[in-house]
C-alpha cells in the first residue's frame, strides 16, 4: 500500500495511465464490433468476435482489479477470500455445459411410479 506522499503521487500517475488504457480498450471493443474493417472471422458476429470481445473485457477488468483495487500488492488473506469467490464464479460459467454433459437419466422412472406398491 502506498503510504508516503511520494508514493501516492507516483501511484496517481499510474492511475491516469490505466484510465487511458481503459478508454483505449473501450474504443477498441466497440470498433471490432461495429466497423467492418476491424471485423475478424466470418462476416458479422461470430465466435471469433465473442472471444476477442471477452478477452478485451478481461484485460480491462484485470487492470481495474490490479491497479485501482490494489490487487497487485495485497495481503494473502484477501487473495484467499476473493480468489475462492472467483473460482466459484468461473465454475458457474460451466453450469450449462455440465448440465448438458450429464443429463439426469429418466429411463424406467415413470414405470417405477405407476407400478408403485404393486
Amino acid at each position: 500500500m502506498a503510504d508516503s506522499v511520494e508514493e501516492i503521487q507516483k501511484a496517481k500517475k499510474t492511475y491516469l495511465m490505466v484510465f487511458g488504457a481503459l478508454l483505449v480498450c473501450t474504443v477498441l471493443t466497440v470498433a471490432v464490433a461495429t466497423i467492418p474493417f476491424f471485423d475478424g472471422g466470418a462476416h458479422g458476429f461470430d465466435t471469433f468476435d465473442m472471444v476477442l470481445g471477452l478477452f478485451i473485457a478481461t484485460v480491462k477488468a484485470t487492470l481495474v482489479a490490479a491497479i485501482f483495487m490494489h490487487l497487485n500488492h495485497e495481503k494473502k488473506a484477501i487473495y484467499w477470500l476473493f480468489g475462492s469467490g472467483i473460482v466459484f464464479c468461473i465454475a458457474l460459467m460451466f453450469l450449462t455445459g455440465w448440465a448438458y454433459a450429464d443429463p439426469i437419466k429418466f429411463e424406467g422412472f415413470y414405470e417405477g411410479i405407476t407400478n408403485w406398491g404393486k
Partner: protein, 531 residues
C-alpha cells in the same frame, strides 16, 4: 476520555494475523459474494442464449448510451481513487471535489440508463400469426395520443364462473350495458338449472331467480356466496361419509393386517349420504343481453376465438371481435424466425418471406424488402471482393442471417429517404430510431394477424428479461454506492478532524465497492450491447 479507536479495534491499525484493518476484510468478503451473485446471472445469460428458441437480438441495442456510460464509470473509478489519494495527503477540499465528480458521474450514468429504459418501454414489437415475422416500431399517434393495444369485442351472452369471477370485469360489462341501454337477463338454461335444484331438493333460493332476473353485482355476489356455501356443505358431507366408510371397513377387517390400498378396494361409501340434501351447486351462470355490448380489454385479459371470447377470470363471452386493428409505425423488420422455419421445412426462405402478410399487403414494406434484397446482393459482392476463397472457390465471407433477414431502422431510413446517401451508423439516433425526425412506414395490422405483441420488456423475450435484470441490478449498485460515497464525501468533516486515517480507510473500502461496480459494467457492456 477513552479513545474510540481503542474501543473499535483494527479499523485503522492492521491486525497482526491478517495484516489488514477489519473493514477491508469485510468488504472483500462482500465482493467475493457479489462476484458469485453476478457470476450466477452471467451463467444464466449463457444458458438463455444457448437454448433460445428464437433468433437472439444480436447487437440490437443502440450502442451510444452504453458506450458513454462505460467512459462515465471508468472516469468515476479514477476520481474515487484520486479522492482517496487526496485524503491520504490530507487535502480535504480536494477530496470533496473528487467525490463530487464521482457522484456526478453516478447521476449521469443513471440518467442515460433512464433514457435507454424509456426507449425500450416505448418501442413495440409484434409477432405475426403463422409466419412468425416480426415488425417493431412505435404505436401511431392518433389525434395527439398514442394508440394503445386494446381488443374490442361485442358480446351478447356472458357466462360467469361463480367461483372466480373478477369484480372489475363484471363492472365493465354492467357499465357497457348501462351505456347501451341494454338489459342483461338470466338465460333460460341457468334459470332452469336453479329451478331444478330448487324443485329436486326443496331448497328455496333467496332471492328467487328466473329468466326475468337482471344481472347486477349484488345478485352475483349473493349467488356466489350461496354457491360457495353449498359447495362447502357438499364437501363436508362427502368427507363425513368417507370417514364413516373407512372406520367401518377398518373395524370389519381388524386383525387381517391389510394395507390401505387393499382396504380401499373393500370400501363401501354410502352414495346417498354424499348426495342427499346437497343440491347440485350451479357454478356457471349465464346472462343474455338484448343488444350487443361493446367491450374493450387489454390483450392480456382476453382470449378471442371465432364467435367467442374468454376473459382471464374464466368469464365466457359470445359475440364477435370488432375493429381492433393495431396501428404501427414500423422501424424494424425481422424475418429471421420465418427464414429458420422455412429452412427446417426445406422451403426457400426468401419465397416464404415474400408470402407473408407484411409484404403481400403493405406496398411500402414490399418496397423496403425489394431494396433490401438489392443491398444484400451488393454486400455479398463487396464481401467477395474483400474476402478470400476456400479450396472449392466459395467465398469465405458471406452475409449472415442478420444481414439478410433483419432490416434495421438505419436501413429503413437509408432505403426510404432520398436525402440520406449513406446508411446511418450504430451511433446514430442515440437511444434508437427517432420517430419525430423520420416518418417510418405506417401499417394497420388486423387483429387476426397478431400472434403476440409487447414492448421491449421481459415479456417480449428472455433477452430483454436478462437485460433488465442485470442492468437493473447493476443500476441499483450504482445508486447504493453513490449514497455511501456521498455520505463519506459530504458528512465527514468531524471525522476528518478527529480521525482522518479512519475516514481514509472508509473511503478506500467504499472505493473498492465502486471499482467492483465498474468491473461488472466492463463485462455487461460488450455482452449486452455488442454480442
Amino acid at each position: 476520555m477513552s479513545n474510540i479507536l481503542d474501543e473499535i479495534p483494527y479499523i485503522v491499525k492492521a491486525r497482526k494475523d491478517t495484516g489488514l484493518f477489519n473493514s477491508k476484510i469485510a468488504i472483500w468478503l462482500f465482493l467475493a459474494s457479489e462476484v458469485m451473485l453476478f457470476g450466477g446471472l452471467f451463467s444464466g445469460y449463457i444458458f438463455l442464449r444457448i437454448y433460445a428458441d428464437y433468433p437472439w437480438p444480436e447487437r440490437a441495442l443502440p450502442v451510444m448510451p452504453g458506450f458513454i456510460n462505460t467512459f462515465v464509470l471508468i472516469g468515476s473509478s479514477v476520481t474515487v481513487v484520486f479522492a482517496w489519494a487526496a485524503l491520504k495527503m490530507r487535502k480535504y477540499r480536494q477530496f470533496q471535489v473528487y467525490m463530487a465528480i464521482t457522484l456526478l458521474c453516478a447521476v449521469g450514468f443513471m440518467i442515460l440508463k433512464t433514457i435507454e429504459y424509456k426507449a425500450k418501454f416505448e418501442h413495440q414489437a409484434v409477432r405475426m400469426e403463422q409466419t412468425h415475422a416480426v415488425a417493431e416500431g412505435h404505436f401511431r399517434k392518433v389525434d395527439g395520443e398514442y394508440y394503445t393495444n386494446m381488443i374490442n369485442f361485442e358480446g351478447t351472452e356472458f357466462s360467469f364462473d361463480l367461483s372466480r369471477f373478477h369484480g372489475p370485469f363484471l363492472e365493465q360489462i354492467l357499465k357497457s350495458a348501462k351505456d347501451a341501454g341494454a338489459k342483461l337477463t338470466m338465460s333460460e338454461t341457468t334459470a332452469a338449472g336453479y329451478d331444478l335444484a330448487a324443485r329436486k331438493f326443496g331448497v328455496d333460493l333467496e332471492p328467487a331467480v328466473s329468466e326475468e332476473t337482471e344481472l347486477s353485482a349484488d345478485l352475483l355476489d349473493d349467488l356466489r356466496a350461496k354457491f360457495l356455501d353449498r359447495r362447502e356443505k357438499r364437501s363436508n358431507l362427502r368427507i363425513a361419509a368417507l370417514r364413516e366408510a373407512w372406520s367401518d371397513v377398518r373395524t370389519e377387517n381388524a386383525g387381517f393386517n391389510l394395507s390401505d390400498r387393499e382396504l380401499a378396494a373393500k370400501l363401501d361409501v354410502d352414495s346417498a349420504a354424499v348426495t342427499d340434501n346437497s343440491e347440485a351447486p350451479v357454478q356457471i351462470v349465464t346472462f343474455v343481453s338484448d343488444k350487443p355490448l361493446p367491450l374493450t380489454f387489454k390483450p392480456k385479459f382476453i382470449q378471442t376465438d371465432e364467435g367467442s371470447a374468454r376473459l382471464k377470470d374464466g368469464t365466457g363471452i359470445k359475440g364477435q371481435l370488432t375493429d381492433s386493428t393495431l396501428l404501427l409505425d414500423v422501424d424494424t423488420l425481422d424475418f429471421r424466425q420465418t427464414a429458420r422455419r422455412a429452412e427446417e421445412k426445406g422451403l426457400d426462405p426468401i419465397e416464404e418471406i415474400e408470402k407473408t402478410w407484411l409484404i403481400t399487403e403493405n406496398p411500402q414494406i414490399a418496397q423496403i424488402w425489394e431494396r433490401h434484397k438489392e443491398e444484400v446482393q451488393k454486400l455479398r459482392e463487396k464481401l467477395i471482393e474483400r474476402g478470400d476463397r476456400d479450396e472449392n472457390g466459395e467465398a469465405v465471407l458471406v452475409p449472415n442471417e442478420n444481414d439478410i433477414y433483419r432490416i434495421t431502422w438505419q436501413e429503413i431510413v437509408f432505403y426510404l429517404d432520398d436525402n440520406v446517401t449513406e446508411e446511418p451508423g450504430v451511433f446514430a439516433g442515440f437511444a434508437g430510431p427517432n420517430h419525430k425526425k423520420f416518418d417510418y412506414p405506417s401499417i394497420d395490422i388486423p387483429r387476426e394477424k397478431v400472434a403476440f405483441q409487447s414492448n421491449l420488456t421481459p415479456k417480449w423475450n428472455t433477452y430483454y428479461a436478462i437485460y433488465f435484470l442485470m442492468t437493473g441490478l447493476h443500476g441499483l449498485h450504482v445508486i447504493g454506492g453513490a449514497i455511501v460515497l456521498g455520505y463519506f464525501g459530504f458528512f465527514s468533516g468531524k471525522m476528518y478532524r478527529e480521525h482522518p486515517e479512519w475516514l481514509a480507510n472508509r473511503v478506500e473500502v467504499g472505493g473498492l465497492f465502486w471499482h467492483f461496480v465498474d468491473l461488472v459494467w466492463i463485462f455487461l457492456f460488450p455482452i449486452m450491447y455488442l454480442m
